[in-house]
Subunit: 209 residues, 2 copies
């Protein structure tokens, strides 16, 4: 198909398609004339993924590039390595600044890990990210936030198990990796939207709004 | 205190403070000389809130302005109105585009509301936001996403009850509103970070990563 049809089929405007092509997020079409190229269904699928990561996942163009690289590299990897690489590429990398709040957050993550048998080291990016976020929570709410963190941990244990099992259901590794990466962002956004509705509903019923 | 001390105490750089002052996110200090003003503890608290909403909540300057207005208006409101107004100001306002995916997402939200006794109308901003996010999920995963939505609803019912009850614990309305608004964003970010750690932990244990 030509670029105009690719735009109609995917719902992505032509200028955005050209931008993604220049940024290397979309492989070039097959050149058919001087100013013309032919695109396939695989371009439609890839565009759908790019748009979701940018618009729903809120990823930068550089971060989308990393996710796509990890998706495209997965031929050399085992299934679980492919999943791990793709999910790691999408992790926020901010480290918590040194200080008493970060120390407190680190102790909380260590305690939760001990109590729940979490196996992720405290110096990994995913744990550092959690420590940074908990440090912000402690900054506002002090030790009142400990109870929130405990509740979150109860819930996360259940949610993460369900989501990972759901991601790896498909036998095809491509599909499993797409489920894991896209589910992390699109699923996370849907969960967050439902949480907001849950707040509104509970407040309305029990606070008389 | 002078602006330099306000910066040291709050950890916010002087140029950012000046920007927030110009944008009206921080009330002016008391003028003490031609180029000098005096700031108080209330400025430190407000800066902490602004920075959290911008950096952790990811809100635009305009959205932060709306949240602060609703906080500052709360004197005229009942406690539950104040909470509701503050939380509504922070809602994303994108509506789902018309189409079969949105229709399917709307049916799912109607079904969940019916099954769970949710009382929030489908045309409210909070429900529209959920419908838009679910439509994205359906776009990728079709009816496989229904099971995710059901699991999310189980978990949200428990999480939202806990969070709202935790928010309204303090007798002081100021503190309750701060808990609700800040907890929505900072708590949400901490939950999301813990979810990512939960994925990594479960994948490592059960997929042999």
């Amino acid at each position: 198909m030509r670029i105009a049809e690719l735009s109609r089929t995917s719902g992505v405007p032509v200028p955005s398609i050209k931008y993604y092509l220049r940024a290397g997020l979309l492989p070039p079409g097959e050149r058919t004339a001087r100013n013309q190229a032919d695109y396939r269904q695989s371009h439609v699928d890839r565009l759908r993924l790019v748009r979701a990561l940018v618009e729903v996942g809120g990823l930068s163009i550089a971060a989308v590039g990393e996710v796509l690289q990890s998706l495209d590299r997965r031929g050399d990897l085992t299934r679980s390595q492919a999943l791990g690489t793709a999910l790691e590429a999408t992790l926020p990398t901010d480290t918590a600044p040194d200080g008493p709040l970060t120390d407190a957050a680190r102790r909380t993550v260590a305690r939760l890990s001990e109590e729940r048998g979490w196996t992720i080291g405290l110096d990994t990016p995913v744990a550092q990210n959690l420590i940074a976020r908990l440090a912000s929570l402690f900054q506002f709410f002090g030790e009142d936030a400990e109870r929130l963190a405990d509740k979150y941990a109860d819930i996360v244990d259940e949610l993460a198990e369900f989501e990972v099992r759901w991601s790896v259901e498909p036998e095809d590794t491509d599909t499993a990796v797409e489920r894991a990466v896209v589910g992390t962002f699109i699923g996370g956004a849907a969960f967050e939207a439902m949480r907001r509705l849950g707040h509104a509903d509970y407040a309305r019923k029990h606070l008389g709004q």
